[in-house]
């Protein structure tokens, strides 16, 4: 890991930067998508290059053969991220199961979010879909950390569930907005949208089309972690842009 924080910036320490895990299947030709360095310019990026090997192959065997190639690619991506201003740590892992690996690294690096890497042209507006008050602090921490010092517009979105009224939803989002402002966001750049939606996933994907990136939570907080839980995976597939999946707080071991 190399500290790439600009030397003249003394107010920011590394811990202020939200940690974002960027997993890339490096040897399957997945590269750092366009626009990712801009999106994550203020993040502490944990760049994970992984290669999934079938069980009949010893992980060691794959590393011996592909380790250097993969590391070289990963370093090039790390360089691009660092040039845009991000702090970068790289990890290269040969694994039989990428979910185990991603999960372990989220925990080890205390990552706030995982990026579903899709390309974008520019970063001008971001949709932040919020489910409820549980763990919302991690969302605000991420959004403020990434965008407080940029000129990105943020739209807070909440799909009402059955027991809520529009007023409930608005007061929830206004609370979030206040929190973001406290963390340094410009209130002018925060918009609030509350609506009744049959299927939240559809609604998020639909709204996402008019934005450049989406921030949303993990699947259902009651279900064991699947990093790309169904809803975020579905959103990412339809939206085709980058999705930041905010991770729940991990229980202490």
């Amino acid at each position: 890991m190399t500290d790439t924080t600009p030397p003249d910036d003394t107010t920011r320490t590394e811990t202020d930067r939200p940690a974002v895990l960027v997993p890339l299947a490096v040897l399957e030709g997945q590269s750092l998508p366009t626009g990712t360095p801009d999106l994550l310019a203020n993040a502490r990026v944990v760049l994970l290059g992984y290669h999934v090997i079938p069980e009949q192959t010893a992980a060691e065997q794959a590393r011996a053969q592909f380790g250097e190639t993969a590391m070289a690619k990963l370093e090039a991506f790390a360089g691009a991220l660092a040039n845009a201003g991000a702090t970068v740590e790289t990890r290269l892992v040969f694994t039989h199961d990428e979910r185990t690996t991603i999960d372990r690294l989220i925990y080890e690096h205390e990552c706030l979010a995982v990026l579903v890497p899709n390309g974008i042209e520019r970063v001008e507006s971001v949709l932040v879909a919020l489910r409820g008050t549980v763990g919302v602090g991690r969302n605000t921490c991420l959004v403020a950390g990434l965008f407080a010092e940029s000129d990105v517009d943020v739209t807070l979105y909440h799909a009402l569930n059955e027991s809520e009224t529009i007023a409930d939803g608005e007061s929830f989002l206004n609370g979030v907005r206040a929190d973001l402002v406290e963390r340094g966001m410009d209130p002018e750049r925060i918009e609030v949208v509350v609506e009744e939606a049959e299927a939240a996933v559809d609604a998020i994907a639909r709204h996402g089309e008019s934005h450049d990136a989406v921030v949303m939570g993990e699947t259902d907080p009651s279900v064991t972690t699947f990093v790309f839980g169904m809803p975020s995976e579905q959103v990412a597939e339809r939206f085709l842009g980058p999705v930041l999946v905010v991770q729940r707080e991990r229980p202490e071991e």
């Binding site: 890991m1 190399t2 790439t4 040897l27 760049l47 290059g49 290669h51 999934v52 090997i53 079938p54 069980e55 009949q56 192959t57 010893a58 992980a59 060691e60 065997q61 794959a62 590393r63 011996a64 053969q65 592909f66 380790g67 250097e68 993969a70 590391m71 990963l74 370093e75 790390a78 360089g79 660092a82 040039n83 970068v88 740590e89 790289t90 990890r91 290269l92 892992v93 040969f94 694994t95 039989h96 199961d97 185990t100 690996t101 372990r104 925990y107 080890e108 690096h109 205390e110 071991e253």
Partner: protein
Amino acid sequence: MTAPNGPGGSSGSDASGVDGNPGSTAGSGPVAPDPASGVAVPDGLADAVDADTGEGELERTIGLSGGLAIGIGTMIGAGIFVFPGLAAENAGPAASLSFAIGAVVALLVALPTSELATAMPRSGGGYFFISRGLGTAPGAVVGLGLWLGLVFASAFYLVGLGSYAGQVFLEAGIALPVDPAVPLGVAFGVGLTALSLFGTENTASLQNGIVAVLLVILTLFLSYGGLDALGVFGSERLPERFFPPGGLLPVLQTAALVFTSYLGFAQVATVAGDIKDPSRNLPLAMVASVLVVGVFYVVTVFVATSAFGSARLGEFGETAMVEVAREFMGFPGALAIVVAGLLATFSSANASILSTSRAVYAVSRDDLIPAAASRINLQYGTPHVALGLAGGPIVVLAATGQVELLAEVASFLHLVMYGLICVALIRLRREQPDWYVPSFRCPAGFAVAGCGALASFALIAFMQPASIGIGIAVMIAAYGWYRHYATDVELKGRF
């Protein structure tokens, strides 16, 4: 610009004790680091091995249940579904004693193996311990011998699998002009090799499931059969004389024959590099799998010899257990055992073929055979050359159909390795090299390893002359190859 690959340079703050965390400089890079620096962290075994050397970390994905499934899944196929008939024919009801002797020998070896595996949790298992502990020449003989030993074992399992597949035709009432066991075994050998080459499906959970189903079927069957045999219900069955006419000699000969049923525990060590928390899971998986299968074997033979006379069982051959089940529970019982036998021999054969390819990789990594043998196919991610070096000879040997010979040669080559593993333990404990820091210590290490070595070599003496001859020929050939190709390779203490 970043320089993101520095081993030990990476985030020291997240040292959460999870495997694969960088922070130590030892590893398996092309240049052997100073061994002393590698294992400085007492609990950091896996860390030391997996540390990022600039070429990436290795994720350990096999847990305790996975390790147990490998051990039990590899072993249980032979002892229950192939051997009871053959063993009873040779040793009568005392065949259960033969299986018990096998279990004791296996345990005497499993404990030292566990200690070595926690000191060197690397793929390659016994070969790795011996080459690092005793030097290149014994390492080469064992490494090449292990490859061929696994080839013989896999061929043996394939013939067993073929027998059960043939039994399916029998149960279905389809008469075949020839005994289908060997052709079917060969077909399965080709099929499984192809599956390993091109299959990228995740088969670990399938293997765990197969083992669980097997254990349930066997527990039910053996409890019922055992109670029946003891006369709890049904008619009490008259036990025949426990010892066979020849006394103890046939019992020991049978122990040497059926020892193939215990070869799987060391397979756990061959995937040591992929096992999570190896300090805890490796010894547990090895010792527990030997105990579990040992108990099943002993009970199986007891039940089988209660159902039929030993001579009768012998006539039934490889699929004797099907007749035992039919005797106790009729057609449904027979069907359940045919299905269980198919699953068990299938999983044993599959696991052995994969182990064979890993054994090839282990010697190739150390330059004992050309590096091309461990090439990986980028499209499928599988070691195609190693799998070919496994599958080819396996199929050829399966075609011979010589069940007992295949089993004994496999046992021979493994027993040589087991004996040397014990010798390696004794030597390493005496020499105390600074890289040797096992986190599991075999209780009464010298005594256990000493007995293990003696027992392993002694068991070989009870094999048929033909098996001993082939085994020795393989070892001489392996030594000859080493003298011809790899005299300049120095492996002792190399990591």
